[in-house]
Amino acid sequence: MKKYTLWIAGGLGALLLLLVPLYFKSTFVLHIYTLTFFYIGLTAAWNIMAYGGNLSLGHASFFAIGAYVGALLYVKLGISPWIGLTGAVAASFVGGMILSMPLIRLRGPFFTLATIAFTEVLRLIAIDWRDLTHGSAGLNIPFDLGWLNLTFKSGAPFYYIALALAVGSVWLSRWVRYSALGYHLRAAASDDQAAEALGVDFNLVQITALLISATLTAVLGLFYAFYSYVLEPATLFSFELFSLQPALNAIIGGMGTVWGPVIGAVFMTPLGEFLRFYLGTIQQGLNYVVYGIILIMTVRFFPGGILSLLTPLGVRFKRWIGDTGDNQ
């Protein structure tokens, strides 16, 4: 009986999300939802590396790789973005391999520094390589309507695409967590030496996680490029938007868990828009001040993120629905 309640609640939620575009005609609302879904995806992808204890502040690089590869193939060669996806995945795979070289020797903050440097190098190359990327002037996705071109007049198609991407990313992140890889990553994060002694190939699992995370981010980047029509290094390689924000979402939601990133993204994305609207126009910069304070306070007062505050609630909820708490 209680299982039913669960399914009905879940189904209802899913239905609600599917019906949103019909209920809200406003593309602004859809845009916020779409943006939130993108960030759920990004944060979940970022979080796959966090399972292994590695915090990247360079995911903008993979995001931009995906966006540029997809857009360049489309704009310059006329290849549909759906086919371009393979190119984006391949390119981000190569990028991930390159970044994995320092990863083998570096841990903690130093790995984080390496990811920042990696992104900076790519950003500067993207700016300088004008023949390919048009430099800072950027590339435009032409307005040719059609599913094949990923160009739509209404906001609904991208709403569903982003929703699918978010669900897919979270599903993948959940799958990784409860696979052999996930167990090994978590073991490596908690004690790399003990994990190695128990047969966990530290380098292999970390690199695998990096590659999964990187390619997933690149896929999101590609769709984002087509969603935002304009590609330029200042936005795609933006530290604040695509490197720091996913990390922030995850930390605030609850890093290294499946649902923490989702909660973080759902909380932070509308909040960011809200703050910019209400505070940013009152006093420039005020919204970021609030952001900074939220970050400092989170680390200090609840380093486990929002999820750690919800856990007591969750336990009660589980008891209520009669869930015994098995992970499978």
């Binding site: 602004f28 029509y229 938007l241 828009e273 126009t281 869930d323």
Partner: protein, 403 residues
């Protein structure tokens, strides 16, 4: 699964918060004002907004448009992504029927794209990338000059004044370009190269640099090696000062001609002191100009000073003032209606000769929506003031050559 359900609920709640907008009142005319007012473009974004704001205040004092007061719905285009969100929000929540802005070209490209796809009017008053009006949208208009106009101003000046002054023919003049590698610098540099090819100027060196760089000695060294007759600099902000300082430190004795941005700021002269003297610049109309050709400028400056307690920081505010006035005039003629057909008709019919607006620009839109009578003036820093020196009818002083 159960968590998903909880999340969905939370999600919807949160979004409702950000969605509660204020709906348009009937007695006012609602226009979106989209500028980057935080982030790294905040300074000029805000300065540009001030121009439009002054125009609004002034027009409202005079009774508004078609008897209605004008209200700006403000948006912060701090990033491209924000530009998109804010445009969506202004259109959907604030129900604006027209948007003006944006100062930065990349923000405009994103925002106008969103607006155009919804048939909402977008008036660009300050961004100069050529591409903005070249995408075939019927609802995107621009009142200010393009980057090509900037370079036209420069090239004309170089050919008609610099070449005779140096005693050279136009095709003997060597030009070095130093530009910041952002979207602004790149687009101007590209335009200059195109124009130079047509007019026979020799470009001997093109140096791109990052505007966050704290050392430009390498740019100077490369220019020194190329030894041009004039350096065309496209700087966005503090890099203008840095470039001039390091040119001086490292003995680059070549006249510098800025291209708006950093070279138009009062801080440029304040920071450089006497060294700023003689630095040329091409930009939107600035304040030390022949006011016979710029009716309304003095009124603008007066109101600006009353409102913001200091002299305007750059010509961008004036350009936005002029542009906003053009929009108000159009709306006045449509009787406050945003009907696409009406607006288009009125706008296309507009025909103002140069010398009748606060910037001195005329108004005549081409089919793409670009104001073809917008032009850039050459100015020069003289004793801490940016005075107009070219073309002659706008000039208040004669240009001088300072190496």
């Amino acid at each position: 699964m159960k968590k998903l359900a909880m999340l969905a609920a939370a999600c919807i709640c949160l979004m409702q918060i950000s969605v509660t907008g204020v709906f348009a009142e009937e007695k006012t005319i609602q226009i979106g004002a989209l500028y980057p007012i935080s982030g790294n473009l905040a300074l000029m974004g805000e300065e540009s907004w001030r121009g439009a704001e002054i125009a609004r205040i002034l027009r409202n004092r005079q009774g508004g448009v078609a008897g209605k007061q004008i209200v700006f719905r403000q948006g912060d285009a701090s990033t491209n992504s924000a530009a998109r969100s804010e445009t969506e929000r202004m259109i959907e929540q604030d129900k604006v029927k027209a948007i003006l802005g944006t100062y930065a070209s990349s923000r405009c490209m994103v925002a106008s794209e969103v607006a155009a796809r919804k048939d909402i009017f977008y008036f660009e008053l300050g961004a100069i990338a050529n591409a903005i009006t070249q995408r075939g949208y019927k609802t995107v208009w621009r009142t200010c000059p393009t980057s090509l106009d900037f370079c036209r101003g420069q090239v004309n000046f170089i050919i008609n004044w610099l070449a005779p002054t140096l005693g050279k023919k136009a095709n003997e003049i060597k030009v070095g370009i130093a530009h910041e590698d952002g979207e602004y610098g790149t687009s101007v540099a590209n335009s200059f190269a195109t124009l130079a090819k047509k007019t026979g100027l020799q470009i001997v060196s093109v140096e791109a640099y990052s505007n966050t760089s704290n050392d430009l000695s390498s740019v100077i060294f490369r220019l020194r090696k190329a030894a041009p007759d004039i350096v065309v600099a496209v700087s966005s902000s503090q890099d203008a000062i840095l470039l001039s300082r390091q040119a001086n430190e490292l003995g680059l004795n070549i006249p510098i001609m800025g291209t708006g941005g950093g070279h138009s700021f009062q801080s440029f002269a304040d920071g450089l002191g006497p060294q700023a003297n003689g630095v040329l610049n091409v930009d939107f109309t600035q304040y030390h100009v022949n006011t016979k050709y710029t009716p309304g400028l003095e009124e603008f400056v007066k109101l600006y000073q009353e409102t913001f307690k200091h002299f305007p920081r750059a010509g961008s505010s004036l350009a936005n003032f002029m542009g906003a006035n053009v929009i108000f005039n159009i709306l006045e003629k449509t009787g406050g209606s945003f009907d696409p057909e009406k607006i288009r008709k009125v706008a296309m019919a507009m025909d103002i000769q140069p010398g009748h607006t606060a910037t001195g620009w005329g108004v005549k839109f081409d089919k793409e929506g670009q104001n073809v009578r917008a032009e850039c003036l050459v100015t020069q820093w003289r004793d801490g003031k940016l005075v107009t020196v070219w073309p002659k009818k706008f000039a208040v002083m004669e240009p001088i050559l300072v190496k």
